[in-house]
Symmetry: C3
C-alpha cells in the first residue's frame, strides 16, 4: 500500500459531492434528533445484542435510556467498521473524539448531540458539511410525499407489498384502500400499480425497488393463472409454494411493465432471508443465504430489455455472478455493496472485479442504505477509501503491467467520478445536477 498515493487519491475522491441512490431516510426529518436515534440504527443494537445478549430488548422509545444502555457495550464492538462510522459522526458532527465515549459520559454525549442535532438548521448544515447533493428514499406506495423537496430527494417505490407480501390479507386490504376498491382482479393489481407510479412520478420518482428473498424465480405467467391464484387467496386459501412463486413472478412482471411505461429503473436487491434470527433487534433479524444464484432472474431480464436493472447482491457468493451479468447484459448495472457485503473485504474484491470486467459506464459505485442523513458521510468514506486503494493499486500496476498503458491520477479520478457521479446520474436518470 502506497500510503501517500492512497491518501491523495482518497482526498480527491472525497471532494466529490455525494449522490446517494439508496437510503431509508425519513424525508420529513432527515437527520437524527439526538445520539440515541443514531444508536437505534440496527447496526448498533444488533452488534450490542450479539456481543452482550439482552434478547433484542432495548428501550427503543427512549433515546436517553437507549444511549445509556448501549454505551457500555460499545467497547465490545470497537473493532467494527460500524463503530468507526459512529466515531466519524461523533468527531465530525458533534466535535467529540472517541475518548469521550466512556459509559459514564453518556449524558454529556447525549446533551451535546441535542445541542447540535436538535436545531432546525441542522439538516442543512449537515448536508452542506457532507456535501450531499441528492438522496434517494425508500417509500411505501401510501407514504405521504406532499411537500417533498424533489431537488434533493427522490422517492423510490418499495414493491414488496405487490409482490412478496401479497399473500397477507392485511397487505391486500391496505392496497385496496389505497386504490379505492378491493384488489380482486389482476387488472386491479395493475390499477394500483399505475396509481402508485402516477403518484411517485408526480414527486420525481427515482425507481422501483425490491429486496428479494433467496431462491426467487421469474418466468412467464398467464393472466388467468395469476387470477386463479388471486381468487384462491381472496377465498381465504393459503398459497402453496408454487402458487406463491407464480404470483411473485406475475406481480414482478407487472411492476416491470410499469417501469417500462414510465421509463423508470427497477433496482433489484437480491438475496435476503427475512426474520430468521428470533432473538434479534428490530431490523436485525435478517440474514442471507450463500446458496442463491441470479439464474432465477434470466426471464425478467430478457423480457424487459428496455428496463434498466441496477442490482445489488447481499451474498459474496453472488458477486462474480453480478459482475458477469453486468459484463454481458446491457440492462444489468452493479449497484453498490449491500449490508453484509458492505465491509472492506468484500467491497475491495467487488470493486476490482467491476473495474476490470464491467464497462466503465455501468457500475454505480455506492449507496449508503442510511436511516439518517448523518450516516451517509461515514459510509461513503468507507467506500471511497477502498476505491482509492483499488485505484492506487491500478496506478502502480500500470507502471509495470505488460498489457497496460500508464494509468495516472487523472485517469483514476475520472474512473471514480464515473462510478460515483456520472453513472448513477445517467443510469437512474437524475437531472438538475451539475
Amino acid at each position: 500500500m502506497n500510503n501517500a498515493l492512497v491518501r491523495e487519491l482518497y482526498d480527491r475522491i472525497d471532494a466529490l459531492p455525494i449522490i446517494d441512490i439508496h437510503t431509508h431516510v425519513n424525508w420529513k426529518t432527515g437527520t437524527a434528533a439526538n445520539i440515541g436515534e443514531i444508536l437505534s440504527y440496527h447496526y448498533y443494537t444488533e452488534l450490542a445484542n450479539s456481543a452482550a445478549f439482552q434478547d433484542g430488548k432495548f428501550p427503543f422509545g427512549d433515546p436517553e435510556a437507549l444511549t445509556r444502555e448501549i454505551l457500555p457495550k460499545l467497547a465490545l464492538i470497537a473493532n467494527t467498521v460500524q463503530y468507526d462510522w459512529l466515531m466519524t459522526i461523533s468527531r465530525e458532527f458533534l466535535c467529540l473524539g472517541p475518548d469521550e465515549w466512556r459509559p459514564e459520559n453518556w449524558k454529556f454525549i447525549f446533551d451535546r448531540s441535542l445541542e447540535v442535532m436538535d436545531r432546525p438548521e441542522w439538516r442543512d448544515e449537515l448536508v452542506a458539511q457532507a456535501n450531499i447533493v441528492k438522496v434517494f428514499l425508500t417509500n411505501q406506495y401510501d407514504d405521504d410525499l406532499e411537500g417533498l423537496d424533489t431537488s434533493f430527494y427522490a422517492p423510490c417505490l418499495r414493491t414488496e407489498p405487490f409482490i412478496v407480501w401479497f399473500d397477507r390479507a392485511d397487505e391486500r386490504a391496505k392496497l385496496g384502500a389505497f386504490l379505492g376498491r378491493p384488489i380482486s382482479t389482476t387488472d386491479d393489481l395493475r390499477a394500483v400499480i399505475t396509481k402508485t407510479f402516477e403518484k411517485f412520478m408526480r414527486h420525481g420518482m427515482g425507481y422501483a425497488a425490491m429486496s428479494i428473498p433467496a431462491g426467487f424465480k421469474t418466468f412467464p405467467v398467464a393472466d388467468e393463472d395469476a387470477q386463479r391464484v388471486l381468487d384462491k387467496a381472496l377465498a381465504g386459501g393459503a398459497w402453496d409454494c408454487c402458487e406463491s412463486e407464480l404470483w411473485r413472478a406475475f406481480a414482478m412482471a407487472c411492476i416491470c411493465d410499469a417501469c417500462r411505461r414510465y421509463g423508470r429503473p427497477f433496482h433489484l436487491m437480491i438475496g435476503v432471508n427475512r426474520d430468521v434470527y428470533a432473538q434479534g433487534v428490530p431490523a436485525g433479524q435478517d440474514l442471507f443465504d450463500s446458496v442463491n444464484s441470479m439464474r432465477g432472474y434470466d426471464h425478467v431480464l430478457n423480457a424487459y430489455p428496455d428496463v434498466s436493472f441496477p442490482t445489488a447482491v447481499l451474498a459474496d457468493t453472488t458477486g462474480l455472478e453480478l459482475t458477469a451479468a453486468a459484463w454481458i447484459r446491457h440492462n444489468v448495472y452493479p449497484s453498490g455493496h449491500w449490508w453484509y457485503s458492505n465491509q472492506p473485504t468484500d467491497i475491495a474484491r467487488e470493486i476490482r472485479r467491476r473495474i476490470d470486467a464491467v464497462p466503465g459506464n455501468k457500475a454505480i459505485g455506492y449507496f449508503s442504505d442510511a436511516y439518517y442523513l448523518e450516516f451517509i458521510l461515514p459510509k461513503f468514506r468507507m467506500y471511497k477509501f477502498e476505491l482509492a486503494l483499488a485505484l492506487a493499486e491500478r496506478m502502480e500496476r500500470s507502471l509495470i503491467h505488460p498489457n497496460m498503458e500508464p494509468f495516472g491520477l487523472d485517469d483514476a479520478l475520472e474512473m471514480a467520478t464515473n462510478m460515483l457521479i456520472h453513472n448513477p446520474m445517467r443510469i437512474i436518470g437524475i437531472s438538475g445536477l451539475a
Copy 2:
C-alpha cells in the same frame, strides 16, 4: 507488506501461550513416537497419493517403511503449507534443516526422530517449547478418560454416533452397550446422552461437537415422530431421506438439551462430504460442497438461545455467512479455519471479515485440528502470521483512513490476545489459566 512491522507483530503474537480448542490428539500418548507417525498424518499421505498415485495404499502399520516411502514424494509437495509444517517440526524439534530431507537420508531422519520423540520426557519438553497450555480433544462417548490430566486436556464429545451414524445398527448396539440396555426409545437416547455428559463432565468436559454433512437441516421434531422412525430402524428398516433428516434434527436437539443442562457449548463444524474419494488414504477421502448454507441451522440456533455455538465452516462459500451469523446472532461464535479453508488465502479473507464486522469478544482465532501435539506449533504459526499481516495492515490503514483512529501495536496485540486467549477461555469456559 511492511516486513518489519509484520515480523514484530508476529513475534509478539507468537509469544502468547497456545490454547488449542480443537484437536484429535490421543491423550494417552499426545506426541508422536517417531517421524513415521508424523508422516502418517493424512495431510502427507493424501498429498503424496495425489502427487504420485498409489491407490491410497501406504504401509501405515510400519513407521519406518512409511518414512522410506513418503520421503521421495515430498519434493512434489514442497510448495504446500503442509510441507512447511513438517519442516518446522523438523527444524524446531529434531534440529534438522530442510536440506536433510533427501530420500536416501530417510533412516537418519527416522533415527533422529526416535532419539528425540521416543523418550518419556518428550511430551513435556514439547509442550514447554511450544508453550501450549490447554488442549481440547475429540472423544467418542466410550473413550477411556480415566487418568486424563484435566489441567492440560479437556475432552470434547463427538456427537456423530447419536446423530448422523445412528442409522447403523452396529453404532446403535455400541451405544446400547455403553448405556447398559438397548436403545429402543427416545428416552433411551436421552439416557445415553445424559450418561455420556455425566462421564465427560467428570473429566472436565470442553464441549459437544459435530462435523456435519452439507445440507443438514434442523427443525422441531415431536417425540412420537422420532420414536416412529426409531422403531422402523429397530425393525431392520432402512430410513429414507426424510426419516434420516428427521432423526438427525431430533437427536441434535437432544444434544442441545444436554448442552443447556450442563452449561456446555456445542461446537459445529459445518459442511463435510465424507467418503467421496474412493482411492484416498485413511482420513483423506473427504471433501466439501460449495453448495451449502447455514440456513438449515436457523431452527436450532433460535431454539437454544442459551447454548453457545462456536462454529467452523469447511467451505469458503460459507465464510461470509458465518461472519454475518456471528455479527447478529448472540450465540454463534466464528471458530478457527477448518481443513480445506485452513490455508493462507482463505484464512486471510476470513480474519479480515471477522475483525471488521464481528464483535471483538466473539471470534475464536484458531484451532489446530492436530493428531499429534507436534503439529500445534507449526499450524498456529501459520495462522499467527496471517493474523500479524492483517493487524499490520490495519495499523497502516488506520494512519490514513478517514473513519479510523490510530490503531497501534498495543491495540493490535490486544486484539490478537482476545482472539487467541480471552475469547476461547470465556466462550468455552476454560478456568484455571492465567
Copy 3:
C-alpha cells in the same frame, strides 16, 4: 507490491515459451485476417453491446463495418482487461499505440491491420514473436483434420454432441452420418466414439473435452437403461429431466472408457449456463451459476482412476472445491482460469490457493481460450503478471515467515516453469518439446 521484483519475475516468466492447452483457434487459418476479425471476438462485441446496447446486432459478416461500429464504443470499455488485450495486440503486432484508437481513425487502423495480418507469413511471424510452441484446439468429431501440423497443433475433441446435445435429432443424425449408420443402439454410440477417437489419435489427439452445464450429475448407468432412453428419443419422444440426466451420465462414461483405452485425458470445463441472455451477441449469451458444486462428479472421478481429468471451473464459488479436489484426488488437475474467472481478481486468489495446497506437479497454469492466435500473447501476459505478483509475494513472505525457508528467484522461476511448461506437458502428454 515490490515493483522491481514483480517486474523482474514477470520478465523471466515472460521469457518462457507458450504452451496453450485450450483454444478455439481455427487451424486452417490460425491468425485473424484483419482487425475486424479481432474485434469480432465475443469479448468486444458483448462488452460493446453491454455498454451501448444494439440488441446483439453487429455486422459480423463485414469486418470493415464491424471495425467502424465497434471503435466508438471502445472508450466505454477502456477500463477492462479485455481492452488491454486489444491494446497489446495493437502495440505489439500492429505497432499502433492506444492513441491511434480514435473512432475517426478506424480506416487507418483497419488498413494497417490488413498490411500486417493479411500476409501468408503472418502466422509464422506471430508465432515466433509470441514464442508459442504448442496450441491445443477444440474440434468437432467431424472437423476436417487432414493436413493439420501436429508438431504445433493438437486437436481436442469436443464431446458435447455425444453427451449434452444428444437429445437433438439433428445432432444424432449428424453423428450417424459420421459413423455411416444411424445411432440406434448404445453400441452405435460406442462405435461413433471409437471412430472419432481413432480419427483424432491419427492427428495427435490432445484430449477429450466438455463444457458442462451447472448441476451435472454422474452415476452408474446400466446399458439397458441407456438403451431404453435412446429408444424413446428415436421414437420421437422428448426426454424428461431424469432421462436426460441418465443419458448424459451414460455417454460421459462412454467417453471416459475411450479416454482410458486411448490413454488420453478428459478436460472438464465445469459450470456454464448456455443461451441465457436473449439479446446477446453470438457466443456472448452464456453465463454461469454460482450454485454448482463438483459433488456431481464424484462417481466419474472415482470410476476412472486411470483417466486424468484436467479441470477448469467457471464460477468463483467452485474455486476452492477444485483446489481441494486436486489436493486429494490424484486424477484431478486444476487447469487455468476460465472465462468469467479469467480476470485478475479471481486469477490471483486461485493461484495462491493452488500454490499453497496442491502438489506442485499438478497445476496447469493457464490456457488462453483464444479464437485467434493473436490473443494468446496478451492473455498469457495477464496471467503471467498475476503469477509474478503471487511469486514475488511468496518470496517476500519467505523472508519473515516462521514456517518457510527462503524462497528465491530461482525457486519462483522453477514453480512458474512447472505450472506453465512441465505440468501441462506431463499431464496431457505432450511430446517433442524441449
